[in-house]
Symmetry: C2
Subunit: 179 residues, 2 copies
DNA sequence: GTCTATACGTGGATAGAC
DNA sequence: GTCTATCCACGTATAGAC
């Protein structure tokens, strides 16, 4: 009982550091984000970051973990995925995606995530080429996300979300859709 | 005359450094590649790298420049693009793509490149939604390239290049194609 | 117990020795 | 023309302040 407020304070500090880490990793990627900058944003000394989270790599693993992969991915419908990827991305997802090409850890997490997506989607499609079409859809959404949220291609400024979603659905989900 | 061999030797050294830089940038990205490792691979002292190419950023700009963007992109046909992205990537392209999410320099180069691609492609398509379809095609190829050559999704091991190219063409190039 | 100061090794970058 | 000496910022482990 007497230790509650002490532990709570420590937990709050750890959470502040985690939030700061998510923003920095999302903005600069794994290598680009510095422990010192994360500490400053959280208002603590750099050493405290290590004290709480062990190492920069473990901090990244905690900060960039995709939310509830197993249950969620299995239940998702294709239209949900298409819609979600056109909205703004949560910091966790941004952090993971921004580092997927430069951090082996992030690369593996992203590959596992997308492998599962392809399997789930191909199971909900029909025809001999179900897996090929599922792979194309997943890759298409990946490319759209990168181009829109990270590269910020100028064409996105001239095309409405509705037009884009409609065209993407028509192309990626021929015949049978997920909803 | 007397200075020719001296200059030639210096130029060869610069080229060796550039080749080593391309490999390192392609393998580890901008931040992950170190000047010291590039120097070692080229067989020279780290300071020589800076002497020749000024700064790590300028070295990256030289190493990751996409080949002959203006003339080539304008002349390319869609089928060429689709095919090329399914083959192995040259070190320059790999270096640029691997860093596009973590290096502002690479991000801008990639955005410019893809913006031009969208413009060129939409000009060769017909219909009101030409630009939307062009954007989808470019993003789809981008996603395929990332998923195949960097994330290495397992589905690619089970699907032949021909099947993939056929399905991609059918989906991305409806109606009128570029060739 | 919670946080801070300090020190070590490795990056990129510059100036100057050979 | 090539390499050494040096500087500052980074990640990280340690010891010490409150």
């Amino acid at each position: 009982m007497a230790g509650t407020s002490r532990d709570a304070a420590r937990a709050r500090t750890a959470q502040r550091i985690l939030d700061a880490a998510r923003e920095e990793f999302a903005a600069h990627g794994y290598k680009g984000a510095t422990v010192r900058a994360i500490a400053e944003k959280a208002g603590v000394h750099p050493s405290l970051v290590m004290q709480h989270h062990g190492t920069k790599e473990r901090l990244f693993a905690s900060a960039a973990r995709l939310p509830a992969d197993d249950e969620q991915a299995a239940a998702e419908h294709v239209s949900d995925v298409l819609g979600a990827r056109l909205d703004d991305l949560p910091p966790q997802t941004r952090a993971l995606m921004r580092s997927m090409l430069t951090s082996p850890e992030a690369e593996r997490a992203m590959r596992d995530h997308l492998d599962r997506r392809v399997l789930n989607l191909s199971a909900s499609l029909e025809g001999d080429d179900a897996e090929t079409r599922a792979l194309l859809a997943v890759c298409g959404i990946l490319g759209l996300t990168v181009a829109r949220h990270f590269l910020k291609l100028e064409a996105f400024e001239r095309i409405s979300d509705d037009d884009l979603a409609a065209a993407a659905s028509a192309r990626f989900l021929t015949g049978k859709a997920g909803d």
